[in-house]
Structures are given as C-alpha cells and as structure tokens.
Amino acid sequence: MTTKSIGYESPLKHIYETKCGNLSDLERNLGKSTVRQLEAMGFIMNAPSLHGDTWKISDRARRLGDVSFRTYSRKERFKDFYRYKLPRMLFGA
C-alpha cells in the first residue's frame, strides 16, 4: 500500500477540490492507506453505489479546506498588514 502525506498540497487539497468521486479512483490517486487515514479522521464519507463505493468530502475537511485554500484577498492582505506587519515594524514584535 502506498501512502502520501495528508497535507497542504496533496490529499486534503485533492479532496477539497474534487469534492466527491469513486473511492477506487481516490485510492488510485492517493493510495489506499491515505484514503483509510482520511476515513478514520472523518475527512471523507462513503456511500455504496451501483458501480462500487463512492466518497464525498465531510464538513470537517471542508472547514479546514476553506481556511487553508481560500484566495488571498486584498482584505486579508490588509488584515495581515494591519494586525501583524505594522505592529512588528513599529514595536519589533
């Protein structure tokens, strides 16, 4: 069984972008062990279907994905500047 790290650029991002699909396809893309990890962590849900089991992303994974992969908007940039960069510049924190 192959394992891929569940991380920023790999499985979590993959399931966050793909949302749902065939379980066999997911196992082929990420490795069976990784898919079992995602299931055990409650990151994907399963359902039986006509052509084998399917999967879809769970609420838990969606919430983490929303924070991790949302676009870096101007508002966020301003927030970063105001909250962290400017105090760091002024107070050296």
Binding site: G7, E39, S49, V67, Y84, P87
Partner: protein
C-alpha cells in the same frame, strides 16, 4: 439463502452492554454524487432484542427491508449481527453486504446506540466493521483478536493521518509566517488544528484506550506500539502548534495597543488641523476688523480735518457772515 455476520463496535469508554438510545432513525439518503442512483434508508430497532429492520429504496424501486438479528453482545461495546440474504436479492446494496458492511451503513446503524460527545455526527470517523461469513463468537479469543485488530487499525490510521496533517500544516504555517503572507489564515488554521488535536487526543483516544485496556492480553503489541508512538508524535506537534499560536495571539493583542496609538495619532492630527483652521479664521477676521477700524479712523480723521477747516473758514469769515446775516434785518428795521 446465505448468512453473513458483522461484529459492530459501538465506541464507549465505560463498561456496559450497548443499548438502543433511539427506537427509530430518520430517513437518510446515502449518496455522494447526484449522478448515482438514490439510496434512501430508514431504520427501526426492537429495544429488547436489538433486532434492526433496515428499510431501503433504490431509485423508484419498491421498498425492501433487511433484518439484522443480534446474536451476541458484550460489555466492551461489541454487538454481533447476522443477516440472511436470499440468492435473488442481488441489488448493489445486498451484493455489497455479501463482502462487508459498507461504512455508511455501519455509520447509520451506529446511531441507534452511540451518542456523539466530542464532535458532530457529520464529523464522525468511519470505522470498518468486522465481517465474517462464519458465525462470530465473542468468547473465542481468536475471533476477538481479529475483531480488535480491525478496530485498532482504524485508530492507527486516525493517528497517522493526524500526525501527517499536523506536519504539513505546521510547515505551511511557518512558511507563511516567514514569508509574511497569509498570517491571518495561518492563525486560523493553527486554531482549527489545535481544536482538532484536542478532540483526538483528549476525547476520541478515550475510546481507543478503553478498547486496549479491556483486552490487554489480546492486543497486538505491534499495533499497540504504533498507536502510542503516533499519539506521542501528535502530542509533540500539538505542543509546537500551541506555542506558535500563542505567539501569534500575543502579536495580535498588540493590535489593541496599536488601535489606541492610531486613534490618539488621528486625534492629535485632527486637533492640530482644527486649531490651525480656527487660528487662521480668527486672524483673518481680526485683520478685517483692524482694517475696518483703520478705515473708520481715517474717515473720522478726514471728517475732523474737514470740520476744522470749516471752523477756520467760519472764523475767518465771521465778520462777513455776520454782515450777511445782519443785512436784511437792518433793512427791515429801516423800513
């Protein structure tokens, strides 16, 4: 007709045989994609015998019912169910149940017995049911060892996944902080990860520990070693994340001081601007007033000089004026 056996574990951390908390489960759709056939399930359980009737419909087909008979249960939370299937029952759900219990069905049936304490139902971990075509005997150590191995493996996957996720997320956060980008997002990710780790380490681990402690002589030592190693690794990552999060929080708290500083700065700037504006107004008005007074003085002076000139003229011509004034009077007197 063939019989199939499933040993379901109802996660618990205290001894006690599973009992039905609900007698009926709401109808639920088990479908991940719109293009797949609809699969609706609804369940009922008999409180005394724990017999489960699972009614299901696939698309527009007539409703069918599967009957799961309880054969055994234990105070550690195991329940063994038997399902009889006729050979003519060959839709995809029945065919799937001939090889194992689909995780979605297990997850659905678990709701009869399990109370979610550390997370929402939608965030629940998917457990793999222990399946056998032969009768399962919970008093047989060999069966029990196999069942334990199946469920402890799910916890190994859970811990390994969490460690892997923490490792990558920590890399993502530290990289962002060093690059000075997505710091707010990184802070949110850290908070979410810490919450998640707490649920796993402090909450869900209790179930795993209960299982291990219930059968210390049957637990696979290799599995036990992996569980503890991964759990310690997860605790270390959680500690690092908490320290990083507190650093970011303290940095964020500077915001309050920064707002005060900015507000006072703006106040000072506004105050200076207002005073300058008011100062400018009063000086210009004063200048206008002074110039008006000057003009008035000039006018008064001019009037005075004119008056003086007139007085002089009057004095100089006093005699002739008197003459002029007296002239008609004398004429009149003479007349």
């Amino acid at each position: 007709m063939s019989s199939y056996f499933y040993a379901l574990w109802i996660p618990q951390f205290k001894e006690g045989e599973p009992y039905a908390r609900k007698s009926r489960l709401d109808k639920a759709e088990l479908r991940d994609r719109d293009e797949d056939p609809e699969l609706w399930v609804s369940g009922e359980i008999e409180n005394n015998t724990l017999l489960i009737r699972l009614a299901y419909t696939i698309d527009k087909n007539p409703q069918r019912t599967l009957v799961f008979q309880k054969t055994e249960s234990s105070k550690e939370g195991f329940i063994v169910y038997k399902l009889n299937l006729n050979d003519n029952e060959n839709d995809f759900l029945c065919n799937r149940l001939r090889t194992t219990m689909p995780k979605a069905i297990y997850h659905y049936l678990k709701e009869f017995f399990h109370e979610h304490q550390f997370h929402n139902c939608g965030d629940d971990s998917l457990l793999e049911a222990y399946f056998s075509e032969d009768q399962i005997n919970l008093n047989d150590d060999n069966h029990l060892r196999s069942i334990l191995r199946t469920y402890l493996q799910s916890y190994i996957y859970k811990y390994e996944g969490c460690v892997s996720l923490c490792r990558d997320r920590l890399y993502y956060v530290t990289k962002n902080i060093n690059d000075g980008v997505r710091i707010s997002d990184s802070h949110d990710v850290l908070k979410m990860m810490i919450d998640n780790n707490q649920i796993v380490l402090d909450g869900e681990s209790m179930y795993c520990d209960f299982l291990i402690n219930s059968f210390p002589y049957l637990v696979d030592q290799n599995q036990l070693h992996r569980i503890y190693a991964q759990r310690n690794e997860l605790a270390r990552y959680d500690d690092r994340m908490q320290r990083l999060e507190s650093t970011l929080t303290s940095q964020k708290s500077l915001k309050i001081g920064w707002i005060g500083f900015l507000a006072s700065l703006i106040g000072a700037v506004v105050g200076v601007a207002v005073s300058l504006f008011l100062g400018q107004c009063s000086s210009s008005e004063l200048e206008n007033g002074v110039s008006t007074i000057r003009k008035d003085i000039q006018l008064i002076e001019a009037y005075d000089s004119l008056s003086n000139q007139n007085i002089l003229l009057i004095k100089q011509n006093q005699d002739s004026i008197l003459k002029l004034l007296n002239k008609p009077t004398t004429k009149k007197l003479r007349q």
